[in-house]
Symmetry: C2
Subunit: 152 residues, 2 copies
DNA sequence: GTACATTAAATCGCACGCGATTAAATAACA
DNA sequence: TGTTATTTAATCGCGTGCGATTTAATGTAC
């Protein structure tokens, strides 16, 4: 490999990973003031979204949807519980599992939360079709990378 | 807004922010074994990349390129210094600034680091043209979001 | 030239995020 | 049945990440 190609390889602007990393931070900055109104952090918001889609899930189920480990979720869920948005109970049918359910306050928060996504889309400056395409490409890439780790 | 549209809004899979969030985690998982060989974490790797592009930068300069605050960088840079990869010295021309420079070990690490990006591109499963397009779209979106916060 | 504002790092507190480990419950199997 | 393996959360240690604050140095205004 010649020197110009080697220079190319380590150009920060050419790193897809960095674009994703920094776009993630940018999203966080846009979300923060909106989520402050809900009293949620961004990962907490994602957990609430999964519970609004399907209530009464196990920690494992939430983790598999958000690609998060129990070591991340357990403290986070305890904070949501402390804030009165969810309850955590051992599953009587399998005492290993913990079922996470929305409280009334947790269910009610959904109305306010529904105002958030349109604000975000607006902040990206993307038209809805471009956003959908980008979303699809990113999911494909993510799934490819997740699958890569599973090779035997 | 009718109910089906409202359901649409809070579908996790439709969240562009979540695709980016989870793609970022996926990248981390792919990078980790490669960066373990270099003795770096992922953010440390990004700092090293910026220094390989331009040595002897201030903390502020690194932060503006990586979109990171001094509260994140200062401890990270101290760890790089403890590992013998960089040195940190007050700028004699402006004692407020700290100049970060590569040590010989830091410069030498670049050779091993150049093997990383091709592995990553391979893991994404993307052809190089798609990767470039995705990269460009993400940077445009990020810059739009960063600019949005600056409105007067 | 002194008072005030601005800038740059550093510090602190809090919340992720994960790998490694542990404890308890359940499954699988001899 | 009893032993072993697996599964599920929880715990611990470490490294980000950021907002708010602090400290020190530099700029600016008068």
């Amino acid at each position: 490999m010649d020197n110009s190609s080697k220079d190319d390889l380590l150009q920060l602007e050419k790193f897809l990973c960095f674009s994703i990393y920094s776009a993630g931070h940018a999203f966080n900055r846009v979300y923060k003031p909106l989520l402050d109104n809900l009293g949620l952090t961004y990962p907490q918001y994602l957990v609430m979204v999964t519970l609004w889609q399907e209530d009464n899930q196990s920690v494992r189920s939430i983790g598999s949807k958000l690609y998060l480990e129990s070591s991340t979720l357990t403290p986070l869920l305890k904070r949501l519980e402390a804030n009165g948005l969810v309850s955590r109970k051992r599953d009587p049918e399998d005492e290993r599992s913990v079922r996470v359910s929305l409280t009334e306050a947790g269910k009610n928060l959904r109305n306010k939360a529904e105002e958030v996504p349109p604000c975000i889309l607006d902040a990206t400056g993307l038209d809805i079709e471009t956003a959908k395409r980008l979303n699809r490409d990113l999911r494909t890439m993510r799934d490819q990378m997740e699958a890569g780790g599973q090779k035997i």
